[in-house]
């Protein structure tokens, strides 16, 4: 096993957290049960890593095996990466034919193997993952001196899922398309209301994906308002200072989905919906 493979394996294992390590190693299925049992996982991580790398050496791990480990690590952490997703479509004049997914997977794999050397594959559920490496496999990755050109080692990883569209689409999206359940035994009483909400949401947010935003902050300096007649806070003369912060991986999409999901009434407060128009997400609100 050459140094680059050893280094690759070592770096991949170092990325894995201790509590995931055993699961990932088992999924990798390269080291046997008995070999894994010889490792004391309670030691310090460096010692565990060294031991694992030694075991891999004994078993003559190839670059392919190391790549497979990397694929598995990525599968476990797919949510931490940003993916480009492509949808396969038929070219003009081609028929849509139903295919056998197993056969498709096999022929897809063979095409990949032929086209790309140094590629490792892994199939999991309905997805085929593959990793391919470009670059000169003989170059040293560790030495970087001004005289030698750094090795061009690029890795592309993409996973393509073959799941049917229904199972990956969240239910919220199904409602936005008013894709009423085909079962005629289910009757939606509030169709009119749902359509109204759908229309208002579309008018407010448009059809296209919302711009990516993660925060919105509202600094309130308003007098306290309450439904209860007597309230110590309501009797205060000075405005109450209050900071409200909304945060989300995709705030505007989340706001857009509030009314269709039934979590809020439509129309939403203009304080929330004005964000894209005003191009602001920090607001100071005072009483008029």
């Amino acid at each position: 096993m050459d140094e680059t493979v050893a280094e690759f394996i070592k770096r991949t294992i170092l990325k894995i957290t201790m509590n995931e390590l055993i699961t990932i190693l088992k999924a990798w299925d390269f080291l046997s049960e008995s070999q894994l049992q010889t490792i004391n996982f309670r030691q310090r991580k460096e010692s565990v890593v060294q031991h694992l790398v030694r075991l891999c050496e004994e078993k003559h791990a190839s670059l392919n095996d190391a790549a497979l480990l990397d694929i598995i690590y990525t599968q476990f952490h797919q949510h931490q990466k940003v993916w480009d997703v492509f949808q396969m479509s038929k070219g003009p004049g081609e028929d849509v034919d139903l295919f056998d997914i197993k056969q498709f997977k096999n022929s897809f794999k063979k095409i990949l193997q032929r086209a790309l050397k140094n590629s490792a594959q892994e199939t999991k559920e309905n997805a085929v993952w593959f990793e391919s490496a470009w670059g000169n496999s003989n170059s040293q990755t560790t030495s970087r001196t001004p005289s030698s050109a750094p090795p061009a080692r690029a890795r592309t990883l993409w996973g393509q899922t073959f799941e049917t569209h229904n199972s990956t689409t969240p239910l919220q999206e199904r409602n936005l398309g008013l894709d009423i359940n085909m079962d005629s035994r289910i009757i939606h009483e509030n169709i009119v209301e749902k359509e109204r909400v759908q229309q208002i949401t579309q008018e407010t947010f448009g059809d296209y994906p919302q711009p990516q935003l993660e925060f919105a902050q509202y600094k309130l300096e308003t007098k306290f308002k309450s439904d209860l007649n007597r309230s110590i806070l309501a009797e205060r003369e000075e405005p109450l200072r209050c900071l409200i912060k909304f945060s989300s991986p995709h705030l505007l999409e989340a706001l857009k989905s509030l009314a269709p999901a039934g979590i809020a009434d439509a129309p939403l407060s203009p304080l929330l919906t004005c964000i894209p128009n005003k191009r602001m997400n920090y607001f100071k609100i005072r009483d008029k």
Partner: protein
Amino acid sequence: MSVLRPLDKLPSLNTATILLVGTEDALLQQLADSMLKEDCASELKVHLAKSLPLPSSVNRPRIDLIVFVVNLHSKYSLQNTEESLHHVDASFFLGKVCFLATGAGRESHCSIHRHTVVRLAHSYQSPLLYCDLEVEGFRATMAQRLVRMLQICAGHVPGVSALNLLSLLRSSEGPSLEDM
């Protein structure tokens, strides 16, 4: 008719209709799907509504059981339920109404205290069921339970009426509200 009455229509042959009332359509839809997967001798119909009163323009069958789905994560959901309850005739509460609280499993997300729904169910003399509808296994079990309840409420189980069932459920309840 802005008030739902249990006996204002004739039943259809071998049909049992349940009305699920709740703000989150996705949850109701999932529950409905789970219920319809159940093997049932009666013909099931599931009506989904965000709130009451129901639109009057629809020609709908007699409703045998109303389930108010309250999401413990949402005050909006509770408020919606409380307002909808005003549009249900008192005679429905003789075993043909039940409350279903979802979201209790994720306590950190709960903005409604459990006691609030307990009190609500108690004041309407109706059973309260708990189920995290987002969890498929729990939802399937609850769906089974609701189908059985529905059949009883529709009168399809000989010898057991909705009122019988209600008193059975009540006697198996834990300590009374005053003891809590």
